[in-house]
Amino acid sequence: MTVRALASLLLLAASSALAAVPAQNALEPHGVQALAIHDLWRLTLLVCTLVFAAVLAAFLYAIWRAPRSKERTAPDVAVLDQPEPKLRRPVVIGVAVSAVLLVVLIVADFVTERRLAHLPLKDAVRIEVTGHLWWWGVRYLDDEPSRMFSTANEIHVPAGKPVILKLNSADVIHSFWAPSLHGKKDLIPGRTALLHFRTDKPGVYRGQCAEFCGFEHALMAFTVVADPPEQYEAWAARQRQPAPAPVTDLQKQGLAVFMRSTCAMCHAIAGTEAGARLGPDLTHLASRSMIASGTLPNTRQYLAAWILDPQRFKKGANMPPTPLSAQDLNALMAYLETLK
């Protein structure tokens, strides 16, 4: 009965997966590391299922074959004083087989760990990811300082190229986890951790914080966008540019609103006077597909609603509500939309 229930459950789970976008799933690996772990998973699952089936079969057979009794049935105490070789052998064999299987699994794990650790890192893209309450700061590192740039919550990487993430935290412990690419790694204040991965196929992969980090831990997601290499280079080149100067009056007015309201206290837009680093870098805000750390799609309506009252969508968000007149808001939106 239970087995059937499990089977149907699994089926249901599989069918509910159809709607899911983009992948955030350890069972749908798209990076070399996630693949290696997935291989290990399949082996482990197989071994464990067999063991489970064997134990359950032995148990069920034992209770099926044993005669029944009542409270008053005379207990068999004679066995206290005599060895029971018939029972001993299966128990010893069972323990021995368990030990052997465990060794197999441990060895498989070591092999997988080596696979994970031996990703060739030549020409790797280096990205510094900083965890904040509750968003991800992303900085593309380069030997040449002028080629560095910042963005947030959306990490573009070239498909087929190794990526080195340098993980830091600005406040509490977070954990970077994009299950389709690799396992997770904690971002620990006072320490720096490294995470290497490579994704071989272009695509969009979702991830989210996996270490409880307070209020809005649930809404601290990010996306990793694997672009074909040339497309990635084009993207990076654009990101290195400062924000375009506002052209129309409305856009100019929008920038003015940005500078004189609360926005400029926290956000930076390269190419303007806004240089604060407390919130996500907005230089190329319009090029990102999501806002509020993967919480809302980056559309005009959502962005405007978010600016007016972030707590409506993300109760603990540190961004304060900004009461703007319809006119100011319109101008601000017009300006922000130019930040491609």
């Binding site: 249901l12 799933n25 998973w41 134990v55 044993a66 409270e71 299950p179």
Partner: protein, 630 residues
């Protein structure tokens, strides 16, 4: 067969005094244990209600039932309650009832300390729940990782209450460990050598030793957290030379053994229940004992597997992978021994047995997923996801709660003199079993499909909706099952079938005395010559004569072979453990608000403790009259 006879003199000398003051002064181990069990089960119910709210919130994506602030308090309280206010103490609570009976003793060692430990536990739990009701419930997780739980990111007093709760429960737990070890080592009835002890007593002995090495670690860690928060020490402040991972090391050095503190006593329940309902001793007694001891040792060498996602050195991780996997071997050995026992036994499927047998299904799954978590690489994927939630509930509910419920069905007649309803019991069991699996199995899949733990909401398009809905339905079924248990207890306590001394035809000493036992347990303590004295042809080997009935005298025997050594006089009932616990509570709660509370709290707590110790002239006089010098 029963060595029990009515003995009003003995009853009077071991009874708790009447009245309210008497109620607060009670120190009889059975009285305290019943209160302890009821208290822990009360917290279990409270924790369960919190869990139901969590499941309601997660039943649908983007649910607005509770907000993040309350949700964080909910799951923190749920975890804290289940770990610190239920799972560990309930085992000790049951043990303080059963261990003296199983070893044929009239009482427990240090009975006043036992009462004190109970009151401390109760006050700690009440403090936490009162704080929770006042919106000062802790909200940084039951694991309270700094810096999130530290002064900067958990302002206010919420986490101080949490940290102080740790002090309470660990103090209580440590005292109980000392009490149980002394009881087990020194108060066994003559003839009960170590290798004739019931397996449950063995598991409690091992558990108590583990408590003594594990709990100091978390007490120190939480003390450091309190001082960080209250007086500005820097244990967890990286800017001033502290380290946030220090907490994780200390916490998991306790936290992992804690799982085994919860899991090992139920192994003893299993052995008691299976032996009785398979009508034969457990196969492989020495293996069972050694397996438990091996588990205890290994349990201290795998705490780092909770930290695989941090940047601890890779080589170290491999060691912990191996250790974590190897701990499966002693458990496997025990499972095989039980299966062998069932194989060669004659089985009686009463409700306690059903609960015990469900272990083979649920715990085996939990153990196997545990092996997956031991692997560094797999852990990197499933760590901190719902997969772990599923795993830990399979281990703790399958490995501890189901056997515990079996134990309640099994020993309920001993506690109350009446059997629990078998019909309700079967319903209770099957609802819990089905509900549990429906609730927790889908979580494995949700975790693998990318759902992290401790999230108060999730987007609708992640593909987790159905899994979560099924989990919530299962949780509701599980809750109905547990509700049936409560009903069964309430009904059977008054109307259940009268049990008699030994309703199950069991073989260990707790069944040799009346149900419920008289205040002095055994009118005539027995001499044993077997692991199952009541099953031996001719019954127990003999009786112990010469223990006074008109006062609280117990026989103290040698550690290994239980050779009679001396007669010890146990203390009279006293209100001072209660008063001391109140005073210590003032100290603990006060020190949440000001460090000076440690000073004036200590000044307040010292007099009751001295009065507690101070001998009474009359009792001393009586003792002197009968004193026999060594």
């Amino acid at each position: 067969m029963s060595a029990d006879a009515n003995n009003p003199v003995l009853d009077r000398s071991w009874s708790d005094p009447p009245g309210l003051i008497g109620w607060l002064s009670a120190i009889n181990h059975k009285t305290i244990s019943i209160r302890f069990m009821l208290t822990t089960m009360g917290f279990f119910a409270a924790g369960g209600v919190l869990a139901m709210i969590i499941r309601l919130q997660l039943a649908r994506p983007e649910n607005k039932l509770v907000g993040p602030d309350f949700y964080n308090q909910l799951f923190t309280m749920h975890g804290t309650t289940m770990m610190f206010l239920f799972a560990v103490p309930v085992m000790q609570a049951v043990a303080t009832y059963l261990v003296p009976l199983m070893i044929g003793s009239r009482g427990i060692a240090f009975p006043r300390m036992n009462a004190f430990a109970y009151w401390i536990f109760l006050f700690g739990g009440l403090m936490l729940y009162i704080a929770f009701i006042l919106d000062i419930g802790p909200d940084a997780g039951w694991f309270a990782y700094p810096p999130l739980a530290g002064p900067e990111y958990s302002p206010g007093k919420r986490m101080d209450f949490w940290a102080q709760l740790i002090t309470y429960t660990e103090l209580s737990g440590l005292l109980e460990a000392v009490i149980l070890i002394t009881t087990i080592f020194k108060m066994r009835t003559p003839g009960m050598t170590l290798n004739r002890m019931p397996l449950f007593v063995w598991t409690m002995l091992v558990t108590s030793f583990m408590v003594m090495f594990a709990m100091p670690s978390v007490m120190l860690a939480s003390t450091a957290l309190i001082t960080d928060r209250l007086v500005g020490t820097h244990f967890y402040n990286p800017a001033e030379g502290g380290d946030v991972l220090l907490w994780q090391h200390l916490f998991w050095f306790f936290g992992h053994p804690e799982v085994y503190l919860i899991f090992i006593p139920p192994l003893g329940f299993m052995s008691s229940i299976i032996a009785t309902f398979a009508r034969r001793p457990i196969y492989g007694y020495p293996v069972m004992v050694l397996a438990v001891i091996a588990t205890a040792f290994l349990a201290f060498s795998l705490w780092v597997h909770h930290m695989f996602a941090t940047n601890v050195p890779e080589l170290g991780k491999s060691f912990f992978t191996a250790a974590s996997a190897m701990i499966a071997i002693p458990t496997a050995a025990q499972i095989f021994c039980w299966i062998a026992t069932l194989w060669a036994g004659r089985l009686n499927f009463r409700t306690p047995m059903l609960f015990a047998l469900s272990f083979f299904f649920i715990l085996t799954i939990g153990g196997l997923t545990g092996i997956m978590l031991a692997s560094v690489s797999l852990d990197l994927q499933v760590h901190d996801t719902f997969f772990v939630v599923a795993h830990l509930h399979y281990v703790l509910i399958g490995g501890a709660v189901f056997p515990l419920f079996g134990a309640f069905y099994y020993w309920f007649p001993k506690f109350t003199g009446r059997l629990m309803s078998e019909r309700l019991g079967k319903w209770n069991f099957w609802l819990m079993f089905v509900g549990f699996n429906v609730a927790f199995f889908p979580m494995h899949i949700a975790g693998l499909r990318g759902m992290p733990r401790r999230v108060y909401t999730y987007p609708a398009e992640m593909g987790w909706n159905l899994l979560n809905l099924v989990s919530s339905i299962g949780a509701a079924i599980l809750a109905v099952g547990i509700l049936l248990f409560v009903i069964n207890v309430l009904v059977s306590r008054r109307r259940g079938e009268v049990a008699g001394a030994d309703p199950w035809g069991a073989g260990t000493l707790e069944w040799a005395t009346a149900s419920p036992p008289a205040p002095g347990n055994f009118a005539q303590p027995v001499v044993v010559a077997s692991r199952f004295p009541l099953w031996s042809p001719g019954g127990v080997a003999g009786v112990v004569r010469g223990l006074a009935d008109d006062r609280r005298e117990v026989l103290v025997t040698s550690v290994l072979d239980a050779v009679p050594n001396h007669r010890a006089m146990m203390p009279e009932s006293s209100i001072w453990p209660f008063v001391s616990a109140v005073a210590v509570t003032v100290l603990f709660v006060g020190s949440i608000f000001t460090p000076w509370a440690v000073v004036w709290g200590a000044v307040l707590a010292t007099p009751p403790l001295i009065v507690w110790f101070w001998p009474k002239r009359k009792a001393t006089q009586m003792n002197l009259e009968r004193e026999v010098k060594p």
